[in-house]
Amino acid sequence: MKRRTLLATGASAAVAAALGAPVRAQTKTKVGFIYVGPINDGGWTQHHHESAMEMVAHFGDAVDFVYQESVPEGPDAERAITQMCLGGANIVFTTSFGYMDPTINVAAKFPDVKFEHATGYKQADNVGVYSAKFHEGRAVQGFLAGKMTKSNKIGYIASVPIPEVVLGINSAYIHAKKVNPDVEFKIVWIFEWLNPAKEADAAKALIEQGCDVVLQHTDSTAPQQAAKDAGNVYTFGQAADMAEFAPMPRISSIIDVWAPYYIKQVQAVMDGTWVSENTWDGIGEGMVGIGEISSAVPADIKAEAEALRDSIAGKSYNPFTGPLNKQDGSPWLADGEVAEDGVLAGLNFFVEGISGDIPS
């Protein structure tokens, strides 16, 4: 314990020395971002970066913004985060799940710096976690998919088997099934978040299998392009609006809206009011956006979808409301029972009706 603080005090002394003789009047708040991909990946990282830039635009000269892109998860991440702290960062956002342990480790050495880790679950006094309830958006997608499909076959390009993705599949399936009892889900796991060639091939395989709606939990627009080439296939934007593919094939989208959260947290640091929190916000709080439902969707269905969106936003409806059974038929949620956030955050099973296993 002593040793740890030794490094930290050594670090802050060195920072003070580095910044020269006049005592540093902390006028600017230094904000750091660690990204897992390049800032122009068209998906996850690009969205975080654009949100960060909105935050910078909001504060103007009051913040000093640094970032590092394409940081591999592992020891390099720990160094990248430390580097930012040594450089005088006041708050560091680490925007990928794999940065969890590195963030916790570095945070222990820099008690005065605040950390925000995206999509993780480990907190500390100076580490908060945040994520979005993407599955709320998936409910609206599932509804639209169930209504729009003619073949009753819905394709789902899944990325890595983690709770967030499993939640999304369940949520979409529940709401598609509700409006269309004949609906069937075909799920393809590609084990990556972003691999355009593989995503394109997966989309083509699903379309070839008769799916006329393809949902994706991967970041590139390659599936959109494949759907466009195929003709009568509906898709949804992921992470970004992907509006360039509207009105067809993209009929709506889930948008990650991080900027308000970033502005709020940086403001809290400036005000000295920052506390470690576990934030998991959805449509209602504005962290998940539902992109414009396009003209390809009939007006009455669009209205219903928007009503569903609003009921989730207003908290009058939870996408995981019983009765729901697990995949093996055993009961999960009783009639009217609502799943707790804690359960959802670690969900690792499919609901009844979905075929196939979660890879393990």
Binding site: R3, A17, P38, E69, G74, G87, D101, V160, P161, P359
Partner: protein, 361 residues
């Protein structure tokens, strides 16, 4: 016209001068690159090469440098035996991954038992075994089927890569990890953790082993019969055969050596700096080490220096990215340029450049 003429002996002067020339050349070329990107070239070069060693935060970067260089040096030392003997194991990346998988599996099998005296040595043995087994496949195929070891070892890298990705979401996944990919963190399991021996020095068991390997390799090449055999086999297989060197045994020994060192490097990495079996664990170290081996001219001391230089460009490069918002692609290009210039100036060591008149056909 310019012509290259082979020197009878490698030039002593250029042996030492070429790396310096190469680094200066890279600084100039890299400076131009950074200038093109609208960044101050001198600051960028200083951030990469000077600051990690002597800058304000050197107290943090120096240990990091050791941690980054250790696996590169360990793997490259192992490779240098085979490379000198004309045995081309380019699948060290796969052996490194297998060493990590084997080592971590042993630790996870014992979890949560606390018995460092038993578990840590077993992990080292398992790490070596993992690397050796993976290296023995191309070695045995070469000995018994005359199969090209370059290609078999390369293929096995892909297989190891698939395995670690599958294991990180399957077999070795942390049961208490909220369903996320990745194994338990070995750094938080005292019996298995490969932490700094003296806090914040960066010196973990992998670093110690790397230094030890450099010394042993030096002694072997300078004094031992085996080192002589290796060199002889590389320079003249026929002469080696006359001298009684069994070529098949040489293949097996050299491949086992490189596989074992790569494996143990993987184990030290997964138990220490990395901590986890993760899909992102393979970090190209096995391939980078090949470059390190050549930059070090297959000489143990050269490899030591080349490994440190390579680690410096990684660490300095990362520092430049966050300090100057340089794109990561620019750093990659810069590293490529450094390698190109280091490799190409080497020509001066072994060849003389002659101006010749046109009449020489």
């Amino acid at each position: 016209m310019l012509r290259l003429e082979k020197r009878p002996q490698p030039s002593a002067f250029w042996t030492y001068a070429t790396p310096v020339v190469a680094v200066i050349l890279t600084m100039v070329l890299g400076g131009i690159l950074f200038w093109f990107l609208g960044k101050p070239p001198v600051t960028a070069i200083k951030t990469i090469f000077w600051d990690p060693l002597f800058g304000d935060f050197a107290f943090y970067y120096r240990p990091e440098l050791l941690k980054k260089a250790a696996p590169l040096i360990l793997i490259a030392i192992g490779l240098s035996f085979g490379f000198r003997a004309g045995i081309w194991n380019i699948g060290a990346e796969g052996q490194y991954i297998m060493g990590a998988i084997f080592g971590a599996s042993v630790a996870l099998a014992f979890y949560p038992m606390e018995a460092r005296w038993l578990i840590f040595p077993l992990m080292i043995a398992a790490g070596i075994a993992g690397g050796v087994i993976w290296a023995m496949i191309p070695a045995l195929l070469r000995v018994y089927f005359k199969t090209n070891e370059i290609l078999v070892s390369l293929m096995l890298v892909y297989v190891a890569d698939v395995l670690i990705k599958a294991f990180s979401v399957g077999l070795l996944r942390n049961p208490d990890g909220n369903g996320f990919p990745g194994s338990r963190n070995l750094k938080q399991y005292p019996s298995a953790a490969n932490l700094d021996l003296w806090t914040d020095t960066g010196i973990h068991w992998g670093v110690v082993t790397a230094v030890f390997a450099v010394v042993v390799a030096y002694v072997f090449f300078a004094r031992h019969q085996f080192g002589f055999n290796v060199r002889l086999a590389g320079q003249s297989p026929r002469a080696a055969a006359f001298a009684g060197v069994n070529p098949n045994r040489l293949v097996l020994v050299c491949m086992a050596l490189s596989g074992g060192l790569a494996g143990v490097a993987g184990m030290f990495e997964v138990a220490g700096p990395s901590g986890q079996i993760l899909g992102s664990f393979p970090a190209f170290y096995g391939f980078t080490a090949i470059i390190v081996a050549f930059l070090g001219r297959l000489h143990p001391v050269g490899i030591l220096l080349a490994g440190l230089l390579m680690a410096l460009t990684y660490i300095g490069g990362d520092a430049a990215q966050s300090a100057m918002n340089l794109p990561s692609a620019a750093i990659q290009m810069f590293q490529g340029m450094l390698l190109f210039s280091l490799l190409s100036v080497d020509v001066l060591t072994n060849y003389r450049i002659r101006l010749t008149t046109a009449k020489v056909a």
